[in-house]
């Protein structure tokens, strides 16, 4: 949808803290709280889009970026005010359990997170390619005016897409909480940067390419860290990001040639 969302990482962190909250109040397992956290994330995203982002659609392109930057600061610091600055996590009994598949040790939590991701990707793929809403989303992304001409309510589509984005971010946060510690302000920025790198690497506006970009980022970082200097692990992804942005802005796997 061509909105650069600076708050994406903060929605991931929001998901992490929602799992912390459900665990503290109701004693729920993080994966159980997904049932509640994901719909809440979806509607929160729709509200943010309706009241803030939809107002800056026709403003200069930086406005949306600045608005999401503001949302990011508000979320991070609001969490800081409510939960305090110390890192939080949820302890689960299976956090440290691993098992080996063909000689490779896999942590239980990572496996669950991986399974959840695969399910979500499949669901997203089905939504985009097999349903009426999905067709409307793709149409709006391709040509907003054209979609409107054939009767798509593009404002509604924009809201739904942003809601879906926030829902997925929240899901990522909840599934990762047994493994990672959440801190209010730093963690969000890290996730946001990674999300930018991944989407640009793969190609904007293409779910399959984003997945490939994600895998590629992991490979680039790990290979770079093990063959060159490991301190620069994060830098390899960023350098790849810059190179792609400069020399192949449509992404490694994108087909539409669009100068950014």
């Amino acid at each position: 949808m061509r909105t650069i969302n600076f708050a994406h990482g903060d929605f991931v962190v929001l998901g992490m803290y929602s799992a912390v909250l459900f665990n503290a109040l109701l004693g729920w397992d993080p994966y159980l709280s997904l049932l509640l956290a994901m719909p809440i994330g979806f509607f929160a995203g729709i509200i943010v889009e309706r009241f803030i982002l939809s107002r800056v659609v026709d403003a200069p392109p930086e406005s949306a970026l600045l608005a999401t930057l503001g949302i990011s600061l508000i979320i991070g610091n609001a969490i800081l005010l409510t939960f305090g600055g110390e890192p939080r996590s949820v302890q689960v009994s299976y956090a440290s359990s691993t098992f080996s598949i063909a000689g490779v040790n896999v942590s239980m939590v990572l496996l669950l997170a991986g399974i959840a991701t695969v399910i979500m990707i499949a669901a997203l793929y089905a939504l985009l390619n097999r349903t009426e809403v999905g067709r409307a989303i793709r149409g709006t992304a391709e040509n907003r005016l054209g979609a409107e001409l054939v009767g798509v309510d593009t404002r509604r589509i924009h809201s739904i897409v942003f809601g879906l984005g926030v829902m997925l971010a929240v899901m990522a946060g909840v599934t990762l909480i047994p493994l990672l510690f959440a801190t209010p302000t730093n963690t969000g920025a890290v996730f946001t940067l990674k999300a930018f790198v991944v989407t640009v690497l793969g190609g904007l506006g293409n779910v399959g390419a984003a997945i490939a970009g994600g895998i590629l980022l992991g490979v680039v970082e790990v290979l770079g860290a093990s063959y060159f200097m490991s301190e620069y692990r994060e830098a390899y992804g960023l350098i790849a990001f810059l190179l792609i942005l400069l020399f192949r802005p449509e992404g490694l796997f994108g087909r539409t040639v669009k100068r950014v």
Binding site: I4, I52, R55, V56, A59, P60, P61, E62, S63, A64, L65, L66, A67, L69, G70, I71, S72, L73, I74, G76, N77, A78, L80, L81, G85, T185, A189, L193, F196, V197, V200, M229, E231, Y232, E234, A235, L238, I239, F241, L242, L245, L246, P249, V260
Partner: protein, 317 residues
């Protein structure tokens, strides 16, 4: 232009007597002045030329590191290292701009974050160069004319000179040929090109000037802090703060960034007890308000209303 120069004179006059009137509120005044100077430098590129950079903390860090390392390892006085830092920042700005100015709008902003993050990682990891993650400590400073540079009063006057110098530069540029070129490129690169302006060269010059001025302020910041950590000084958050200060105050206006610095640092101080470390909340709320309701920023909106009133008066005869 006379009006702006009078304003600058007033700022200097208030500044000169300030330490005598409020000797206990110098630290906050130093932050207001430093932020005013950085935001005004940022505005040369971000406001007058329309290229929103989210990597200006790199130049602050560069200036601070030049001063700290120059002093602690080579015994170079801060004024030399500040000049060196400004020159180096301009060169860095040149290459940085060459690399990223082919990107437009938000993509340029994203690329500045990426470059700044790589520079931050270098500052943290290249221990031989920067002292690594532990940082650098300034133990001694020369005493020009018997002035102790560690005293808050001396630092206040340095910050005042920095802010006033940057604002004076912008006042001059706003009426110079270069200033009109900057605005032409901001409004429409293609039309500017048709009018015989080289957009990339203009943007490069703006970036180099903005970088040099920012790093000079960074040098003063280094002296004020006396202890420089890469995590703090190269942080994305500082870049964001500088950019938001200018945008909230009013992009592309002479006094906007300075007013933004006064409002934001002042508000941060006022809510210090309520919000504690969460003081960036104010930036978040204000930037949303500005984006949604006053896209010109505080000073830009006031100036627009003033001009409209003038026109209304003239129309009434």
């Amino acid at each position: 232009m006379t009006k702006h120069l009078l304003g600058l004179g007033a700022l200097l006059a208030v500044g000169v007597v300030y330490p005598f009137v409020f000797p206990n509120a110098l630290t906050i005044a130093i932050s207001v002045l430093l932020f005013a100077g950085w935001a005004t430098s940022w505005d040369l590129l971000g406001g007058w030329n329309g290229q929103v950079s989210l990597g200006h903390a790199s130049f602050v860090g560069l200036g601070a590191y030049f001063v700290a390392i120059g002093q602690s390892q080579f015994g170079l006085a801060p004024w030399w290292t500040m000049a060196l830092a400004a020159a180096f920042a301009a060169v860095l700005g040149y290459f940085w701009g060459q690399l990223t100015f082919s990107l437009r709008g938000p993509y340029f902003s994203l690329s500045t974050i990426a470059v700044a993050e790589v520079l931050r990682l270098i500052a943290i990891n290249e221990e031989w160069l920067t002292g690594g993650a532990t940082g650098v400590f300034i133990a001694t400073l020369p005493e020009p004319f018997g002035v102790d540079l560690f005293s808050r009063t001396a630092q206040f006057y340095m910050a005042l000179a920095f802010a006033a110098g940057v604002i004076a530069t912008v006042i001059v540029i706003s009426r110079a040929r270069f200033g009109y070129q900057l605005r032409a490129v901001r409004e429409d690169e293609d039309s500017a090109m048709a009018a015989g302006i080289d957009p990339t060269a203009t943007k490069l010059k703006a970036f180099m000037l903005s970088a040099a001025l920012t790093s000079a302020g960074g040098g003063i910041y280094g002296i004020v802090l006396a202890f420089i950590e890469p995590h703090v000084i190269f942080a994305l958050l500082l870049s964001v703060q500088i950019a938001l200060t200018a945008i909230i105050g009013g992009r592309g206006t002479i006094w906007g960034p300075a007013v933004g610095a006064l409002v934001l640092v002042g508000a941060g101080e006022m809510f210090r007890t309520t919000f504690a470390e969460a003081n960036m909340l104010i930036y978040g709320i204000l930037i949303l308000v500005v984006v949604l309701f006053v896209p010109r920023g505080i000073v830009g909106e006031l100036a627009r209303r003033h001009i409209r009133r003038l026109y209304a008066k003239r129309a009434q005869g």
